[in-house]
């Protein structure tokens, strides 16, 4: 199946800072999603983005399918942004794979 690598594994920011999280995948994908797992364990949908660019408030994402990566941008970070960010991708073999996640800590 597709291999998914996320970077960085850990990130510590001060409130108000911007950040970029990266997801690399090993093959062509038909599905690419970004999730935020909050401290209570709930996985919250951020973006469904197998290609192109989307924005939602302070968050935006870009997937460059031909170069096999996706980026998640967080601007003006807030303490509530803390948690683990996962990307999940799937290709022609119909299997979905989670990355290992990026643990984001935003300090006040």
């Amino acid at each position: 199946g597709i291999q998914v690598e996320q970077s960085p594994p850990d990130l510590i920011l001060q409130e108000g800072a911007n950040s970029t999280l990266r997801c690399n995948f090993s093959d062509s994908v038909n599905n690419l999603q970004w999730f935020h797992q909050n401290p209570w364990g709930q996985l919250i949908n951020l973006f469904y983005i197998p290609s192109g660019t989307k924005q939602n408030g302070r968050l935006s994402a870009t997937t460059v399918a031909t170069e096999r990566y996706s980026l998640l941008y967080i601007s003006s970070s807030q303490t509530t942004d803390s948690g683990v960010y996962f990307c999940i991708s799937g290709g022609s073999n119909y299997k979905l794979t989670f990355g290992k996640g990026t643990l984001l800590t935003v300090n006040p």
């Binding site: 599905n31 709930q42 979905l96």
Partner: protein
């Protein structure tokens, strides 16, 4: 639109006991997934259903885990007998038609095996 429902939210059992988890996907969603998330790791797919048929169960420990989705709507995941290493959060997700549609997750069931 109601989200993915799961119950119970928490369960504590002794090793060698059995346990069952229930999931009700978003109305109309044909595809249903069960994931296991061990503390500190990303979710691992256990089984994927398309309507009431199994699409992928390659990572399901079939000697002790079973799952069914008899009428193509809600689903049950069972562990019998449980082991200490089964302690994890069990997440259910659904998508509207197939794997390359957007997935939505339920709140999960946190299982502790003592």
């Amino acid at each position: 639109e109601a989200g993915v429902a799961q119950s119970p939210r928490y369960k504590i059992i002794e090793k060698r006991q059995s346990v069952a988890f229930w999931c009700n996907p978003i109305s109309g969603h044909a595809t249903l997934y069960w994931y296991q998330q061990i503390l500190g790791q990303g979710p691992k797919l256990l089984i994927q259903f398309q309507n009431n048929g199994v699409v992928d169960d390659s990572q399901l420990p079939k000697d002790r885990f079973s799952a069914e989705r008899l009428k193509g709507v809600d689903s049950t995941l069972k562990i019998q007998p449980a082991k200490l290493e089964d302690s994890a959060v069990y997440l259910c997700a659904s998508s509207s038609y197939c794997f390359y549609n957007e997935q939505f997750f339920g709140p999960g069931t946190r299982l502790t095996v003592l």
